[in-house]
């Protein structure tokens, strides 16, 4: 409930900020047409009203159920969350989104497949090595060889050369 309230409040704050931001950054529109700022502003007003209603409902339900706003429990929950599998999974997804460009598809894919597999409970060492390599090559063959999707090769020169070397092997 507390997390829900915080998310709603953050969204409401974001809506207010965006309302003024779009008003300040867009040119003033004429009286005879809907300008670039009016449609988003209309949506933001409705969004703010709906969020305010939702926040009111959350508080009302909390009161009726006798649940106090417990920020201490939220902080404890947050520290538990940081140590949880889910948090590591979220970090992995973000890391992968950045790593694929820097390290190239091959290395990023093998790393993510092995790490995420471990996170999901796979403990057999050979499976953690063989499956990621096989899946990476299957994905590369399917998308790059057959569908001509140019997968990222990495931005670091020697890793890029490594990607090119692997690609040349696959395309043999």
């Amino acid at each position: 409930m507390t997390l829900e309230l915080i998310v709603n409040l953050l969204l409401a704050l974001g809506a207010v900020f965006s309302y003024f931001y779009v008003g300040a950054t867009m040119p003033e529109s004429s009286n005879l047409e809907l300008g670039a700022e009016q449609w988003p502003q209309g949506i933001l007003i409705l969004l703010f009203i709906a969020l305010a209603w939702n926040i009111y409902q959350i508080i009302k339900k909390n009161r009726a159920a006798g649940i106090p706003l417990n920020f201490k429990a939220l902080m404890e929950g947050a520290s538990k969350f940081v140590k949880s599998k889910l948090f590591i999974a979220m970090v992995l997804v973000i890391v992968m989104a950045f790593a694929i460009n820097i390290f190239g598809f091959f290395l990023a894919s093998i790393f993510i497949l092995a790490t995420y597999g471990y996170l999901l409970g796979e403990r057999t060492p050979w499976k953690l090595v063989v499956f990621p390599v096989v899946i990476t090559f299957l994905l590369y063959t399917g998308f790059s060889v057959f569908l001509s999707v140019m997968l990222p090769r990495g931005t670091i020169p020697f890793l890029r050369n490594f990607s090119l070397f692997i690609e040349s092997l696959v395309r043999l």
């Binding site: 997390l3 829900e4 998310v7 969204l11 809506a15 965006s18 931001y21 779009v22 950054t25 867009m26 009286n31 005879l32 047409e33 809907l34 670039a36 700022e37 449609w39 988003p40 949506i43 933001l44 409705l46 969004l47 709906a50 209603w53 939702n54 409902q57 949880s84 599998k85 889910l86 999974a89 979220m90 997804v93 973000i94 992968m96 989104a97 950045f98 694929i100 460009n101 894919s109 993510i112 497949l113 995420y116 597999g117 996170l119 999901l120 409970g121 796979e122 499976k127 499956f131 899946i135 990476t136 994905l139 399917g142 998308f143 569908l147 001509s148 999707v149 140019m150 997968l151 990222p152």
Partner: protein, 509 residues
């Protein structure tokens, strides 16, 4: 050439061994392309064009038509089995298809998806063949105000998408509409709501967000609370049995199929709309018209039938203005047009007079492709379903990688991968806070079209003030009628709930 002669010519051509094999290969390729996330129907047709260089024009068209129809259907398979929509128009199939697959009714869901897709496609093909000139004339009389009203009709689902969570569903829909505003203003071409970031200049891409919210969020959920898929269909080597629902169930969705085939075809004809809008619009309309709207999203065949009939009907619909006026109804139709022009086909009103064999070939190949697709796609679905037998420690990370490549492949842009990752995590938080991911996607899909048409309609309407212009716009008969329907559809669930609550409180008192 009269209609009968054209029909016999078209079918005799399609049953020639070479053409039939090309149709078969086109269906296999289209289904696989469609099932891969990030490979849209447009991309599938584009990838098919090089194969047609050495073919004669009529066979080339048959091959491309088969790819086009099958790619839309293929997208629904992964949407049902893995909650990854292969093409954007398959996103609504995840709402009911995935819960069915989790319950062990994956085979049934796939059968309904394939058969309703075929029915939608066949209906649209028939319309294309018989009613092309009339339908095109009617559709082209639609201006921006009518297009806005139709798009808004799709948004009017928001109050009934989730009965117990109206406020949160509306918030999710409005968030989607807001996200669709980010990037470049569609009419003025100026930066809007990019918050100083160059990454946001190109706007919030629909496909990465959709892949993130559906696929990544699902994998994150499984990471948090691992839940073994215990679907009976997947036991014994991940086999999919083509379970055909009993006649009683088909009879129950007959009007859904009929309505969505008509609506999907009409939306397909409208320029700028297409399969994605058609499938969302039909899903939302059926939720409204259903006697049990609360069951939508829990895994019922009605939901699958609505969106899958509509998106395949839209593929045929988009061919109508293409063939009779030379105006493509969507991106994939535009690619088809360029391929046909390359083959020497003269698009437009003279097609029927000078080259009737092309219209006959398109119709017959579309009809045969839609029937053949059911058989071929079931076999491909079985292969895809084998994947479900793989342990989740391998399948989960593979879905993440597929989602990554799928997001990247749409524009070869690494920013889309980042967007997909962020959307996945935000999607998880929103779901944890009981917001509705489907409503957010609905807003994102329809937002741009809704805004563009509203602003165009207001600009060309008569009046001295903005309000008088809006009144003038709404006073157009079709617009006024559709907007009235929207208003009733938006307000009715709210009033009904209020009355129900009142009745309950009176009874308890």
């Amino acid at each position: 050439m009269n209609l009968g002669e054209m029909l016999s010519y078209g079918f005799s051509l399609c049953f020639e061994p070479t053409t039939f094999i090309m149709l078969f290969v086109g269906i296999i390729l289209g289904t696989i392309f469609g099932a891969l996330p990030g490979v849209s129907a447009t991309m599938a047709v584009t990838l098919g064009i090089p194969f047609t260089y050495s073919m004669d024009p009529v066979r080339g068209i048959a091959f491309l038509v088969a790819i086009y129809c099958a790619s839309i259907t293929g997208g629904g398979m992964t949407a049902i089995l893995f909650k990854i929509p292969g093409v954007p128009s398959s996103a609504p199939a995840t709402f009911d298809g995935y819960p069915m697959a989790q319950r062990g009714e994956g085979g049934k869901a796939l059968t309904v998806q394939l058969i309703t897709s075929a029915l939608g496609g066949l209906f649209a093909a028939l319309c294309m063949f018989v009613l092309s000139p009339q339908l095109t004339r009617a559709a082209l009389s639609f201006g921006p105000s009518e297009l806005f009203a139709i798009t808004f009709l799709g948004l009017s689902i928001l109050t009934s998408l989730e009965r117990d969570n109206k406020a949160r569903t509306i918030i999710s829909g409005l968030l989607g509409l807001f996200l669709a505003c980010i990037g470049i203003d569609p009419l003025l071409g100026i930066k809007r709501l990019n918050y100083g970031s160059n990454m946001l200049l190109s706007g919030i891409e629909m496909i990465p967000v959709m892949i993130g919210i559906f696929a990544v969020t699902e994998v994150l959920k499984q990471t948090d609370k691992p839940k073994k898929i215990e679907a009976s269909d997947y036991k014994g080597g991940g086999r999919i049995k083509a379970t055909i629902p009993p006649f009683r169930e088909w009879w129950g969705i007959k009007w859904i199929i009929a309505r969505c085939a008509v609506l999907g075809t009409i939306v397909g004809i409208l320029p700028g709309a297409g399969a994605t809008i058609a499938s969302f619009l039909c899903y939302s309309t059926e939720v409204k018209l259903s006697r049990h709207p609360e069951k939508f999203g829990t895994g019922i065949i009605d939901g699958i039938a609505a969106c899958e009939t509509a998106n395949n009907a839209a593929t045929g619909g988009s061919m109508v203005p293409l063939l009779s006026l030379g105006i493509p109804g969507g991106n994939a139709a535009a690619i088809m047009m360029s391929a046909m022009v390359l083959k020497g086909v003269q698009m437009g009103p003279l097609l029927l007079i000078n080259q009737p064999e092309f219209l006959a070939a398109t119709f017959s190949s579309m009809a045969i492709a839609n029937i053949l697709m059911v058989i071929v796609a079931i076999f491909i679905a079985r292969i895809f379903a084998k994947i479900l037998d793989i342990p989740y420690s391998v399948l989960g990370p593979t879905i993440i990688m597929l989602a990554t490549i799928g997001s990247f492949a749409t524009k070869f842009n690494i920013a889309d991968v980042k967007l997909m990752a962020i959307a996945g995590i935000i999607g998880f938080v929103l779901v944890a806070c009981k917001f509705n991911a489907a409503a957010l996607i609905l807003g994102l899909v329809l937002g741009n079209l809704c805004e563009t048409n509203l602003r165009r309609a207001v600009t060309i309407a008569n009046g001295n003030t903005i309000w008088s212009k809006i009144v003038d716009m709404m006073s157009r008969p079709v617009t006024g009628l559709i907007m009235l329907a929207c208003f009733i559809m938006l307000i009715y669930p709210v009033i009904k709930d209020a009355l129900d609550n009142r009745r309950k409180s009176r009874q308890s008192a």
